[in-house]
């Protein structure tokens, strides 16, 4: 494959020093206060605090702040082409940068879906102009996501498709998925799967359980997800294929993936911040803007199973499933509202507030899972190790802010954290060696 896996806007390489930052990169074994020196867009040195020579560099007072390897989101909806009223490459990647992300993977369920090499090329062309963080584009598994015929997977890969997914819909036909896994041997490219049995989901609007019983909403049972995963892990095992399970939500699903990994299946999976932080109890408010998505928010045992999966490595990474929708599709009764919430701008702060501060998971683990989203697609991990491309999220763990108070970088406002006060804030993001974001109120020091 000749194409670069990620595409972003060309710009000025960063030259700066993060003075006295607490550098934390558990994978690289870094956890100490350093002057993080970035020269020509690469991490040049982790110097002793206050010791770095800052000549020719912008100087950032990072005392008391944390520098993490920037995050990578393997599951976002940039809505291009066709739904630019919800999001586009510029606004979506700006939202990503504001959340501390250096890269994202865009789903292909657009209008029309990304099913042709020309469509992939056009997206990459646009990203070269508009993307402030690296973007990898997936193509669909089936033509036009109709679930009937395979796309030209090899040609799509040559055009730069990072992998394949019919996300938004499951690959309903086991025969078609089997063919795709066979073809994958020829062209590579991880196949990412939205796992759901549409027959079992029916017209469900939320998790099937005590809350759906109380609200009289049709439920989406957990087994809708777990039975689909069980089928597809069997297919992947049989064909020796490489699959990535998207947005795991249920305890049964975690068990299926854990068993598949133990059996040697080439499988990775992700979980979303909202599934890690919330349960179906939130749906009692009947607020679809914040709490309607697919898969739905599940019950507390499911959430606990996801946390355990995150800790023991069954769940490889955090993915936001950032799904922007306009107000008119959300200001309607719950059952009629569009599925999906935005998450790029709040992922770190929400997980820090809901999980790290109460002690449910440790900060290093969170950083590792947030930065680990590219690995399932064969991408190099963002790293603070000297010599690495500068991909850094600079965060103030003590800062509190109210989500949405200052608006959003995203074009849409359907944040599951809307109105919530969070603790921990991204102040600055370096992506692909460039400064991709800095909080307006956070100023850099003068050049020395």
């Amino acid at each position: 494959m000749s194409a670069q896996p990620l595409t972003m806007r060309a710009g000025e390489s960063a030259d700066l020093v993060l003075r006295r930052a607490t550098a934390l990169d558990p994978v690289a074994g870094i956890d100490a206060v350093h002057d993080v020196v970035v020269r020509d867009g690469a991490i040049a040195e982790l110097a002793a605090p206050g010791e770095a020579v800052a000549e020719g560099l912008e100087e950032v007072d990072a005392a008391g702040l944390h520098a993490f390897p920037a995050f990578f989101d393997p599951h976002v909806h940039l809505r291009v082409p066709g739904q630019e009223h919800k999001e586009d490459i510029e606004t979506g990647t700006r939202a990503a940068a504001a959340g501390g992300y250096c890269g994202v993977i865009a789903m292909a369920n657009t209008e029309p879906p990304v099913s042709t090499p020309a469509a992939v090329e056009a997206l990459r062309e646009e990203a070269r102009v508009a993307a402030s963080v690296g973007v990898g584009f997936l193509a669909t598994v089936s033509r036009a996501m109709a679930g009937e015929e395979l796309t030209e997977m090899a040609a799509l890969r040559e055009a730069g498709a990072l992998g394949f997914s019919d996300d938004g819909l499951p690959v309903r036909s086991a025969r078609l998925l089997r063919r795709a896994l066979q073809y994958q041997r020829l062209c590579g490219g991880t196949i990412a799967l939205h796992e759901e049995d549409p027959d079992l989901s029916g017209e469900g609007a939320m998790h099937e359980g005590a809350v759906s019983a109380a609200l009289g909403l049709e439920g989406i049972p957990s087994i809708s997800e777990s039975t689909a995963i069980a089928r597809d892990t069997a297919l992947a095992a049989y064909e020796g294929g490489r699959i990535h399970v998207q947005h795991l939500s249920a305890v049964e699903s975690v068990e299926v993936v854990r068993a598949a990994k133990a059996a040697g299946v080439q499988i990775t999976c992700e979980a979303s911040p909202h599934h890690l932080c919330l349960t179906d109890e939130a749906v009692r408010s009947l607020d679809p803007n914040r709490f309607k998505m697919n898969p739905p928010l599940r019950a507390e045992p499911d959430r606990q199973a996801l946390l355990e999966g995150l800790r023991d490595g069954t769940i490889d990474c955090v993915a936001t499933d950032h799904a922007p929708h306009p107000a008119e599709e959300k200001e309607v009764p719950f059952e009629q509202a569009a599925m999906g919430v935005t998450g790029l701008e709040t992922a770190f702060a929400a997980l820090h507030t809901h999980l790290v501060l109460p002690g449910a998971i440790e900060l290093p683990l969170l950083v590792e899972r947030l930065a680990g989203g590219g690995a399932p697609f064969g991408l190099e991990r963002p790293s603070l190790a000297p010599g690495s491309e500068a991909n850094i999220a600079l965060c103030d763990l003590a800062a509190t802010w109210t989500v949405g108070e200052d608006g959003y970088e995203s074009r849409s406002v359907n944040s599951w954290c809307a109105g919530e006060e969070l603790t921990g804030r991204v102040l600055m993001t370096l992506a692909g060696g460039q400064v991709a974001y800095r909080l307006r109120s956070f100023s850099l020091g003068v050049a020395a």
Binding site: E208, S212, A213, A214, L215, L217, G219, V332, P333
Partner: protein, 320 residues
């Protein structure tokens, strides 16, 4: 009480206050002139997105008996047919400055949204499969008149609980009033984990004899297409309330409209144990009481309405 969105929001005392108010309107209903001037000059909008006979007609008549101006909107034939959103429809109707909006909608939470968008008091007249609080209140009223108190009474709710907003609201209301509730129906028509609402669950009528009250639910004919039940015949054989299953001291209720010969046999409907006609009569006075409670209780009433005088009942929730 600013809105009536669910039974869940009401305490036992609030339920009883509404029922006491309804009693006083029942007294008004026995007079030659059945109308009181309480809501004179104020506007009530009924907004129905689903077909309804009993609920819409009784709310409309209740508003008229209270001397309110009534605007009655049915979704069919209105701008809703032209694709107007609920939010815009509510904005349009709000221009008439209604004191109350009574809404029936096929989706859960619709009344709650209207309450957020409109200044009017909002009455949920049924939202999807979620709640139908005025039905529950009129059912409790009907039973209280017959039994005195629901405390310790055993009530069986039988039939398609899954698709029934009446089942949900009544379960909550009956329990709030001290009754023990059992729901009964085929497993596919009982929501998973419903027992967490505090009821027992049965899948046969074998122990129906324990019940003081049998509350039957409508089984929509299309349910068998989705395999919730294999056939109406099989359903009726196992779950129909007929004169053989209904004991002489048991009371029978149904929210209507009845599928005669499906969930109830003809002779059960026409039996002396049946309260179905009384339920309809209760609907009017209970809905008058709801509108009164929302619009004319002391903290809600504008100065102009306060001088209405003799016909005005004692404010709900205040010492008489």
């Amino acid at each position: 009480m600013r809105h009536l969105l669910s039974i869940e929001q009401l305490s036992k005392a609030e339920i009883e206050a509404i029922l006491d108010r309804a009693e006083s309107f029942a007294e008004v209903g026995r007079r030659d002139i059945k109308k009181v001037p309480t809501l004179r000059g104020r506007t009530v909008v009924t907004l129905f997105y689903e077909s309804s006979t009993r609920t819409s007609s009784s709310f409309e008549l209740a508003a008229k008996r209270l001397s309110a101006d009534l605007v009655s909107v049915k979704a069919a034939g209105s701008s809703v047919d032209k694709g107007e959103s609920l939010k815009d429809t509510v904005a349009t109707l709000s221009a008439y400055e209604p004191a109350a909006i009574v809404i029936r909608h096929p989706h859960a939470g619709a009344a709650q949204l209207v309450a957020r968008w409109a200044d009017a008091a909002v009455v949920n007249a049924g939202d999807g499969k979620h709640e139908h609080p005025s039905q529950a209140l009129l059912d409790v009223y009907t039973l209280r008149r017959r039994l005195g108190s629901l405390e310790g009474r055993r009530i069986w709710i039988v039939g398609d609980v899954l698709h029934s907003r009446v089942a949900r609201s009544n379960l909550i209301a009956f329990r709030a009033m001290g009754a023990e509730v059992t729901v009964c129906g085929p497993p596919a028509l009982i929501p998973r984990r419903l027992e967490e609402l505090g009821c027992a669950v049965e899948h046969s009528l074998d122990r129906l004899g324990e019940a003081d009250v049998v509350y039957a639910l409508r089984l929509q004919r299309e349910r068998m297409r989705e395999s919730f039940v294999p056939s109406l015949r099989e359903y009726a054989a196992r779950f129909q309330i007929d004169s053989r299953r209904l004991g002489p001291r048991q009371l029978l209720m149904h929210p209507g409209p009845v599928n005669r010969g499906v969930e109830l046999s003809g002779e059960a409907i026409d039996s002396p144990q049946s309260l179905i006609a009384e339920q309809v009569a209760s609907g009017l006075v209970v809905r008058m009481a709801i509108l009164y409670e929302l619009l004319a209780s002391p903290e809600e009433a504008p100065a102009a309405a306060a001088g209405d005088g003799a016909a005005r009942p004692t404010p709900v929730g205040q010492p008489a």
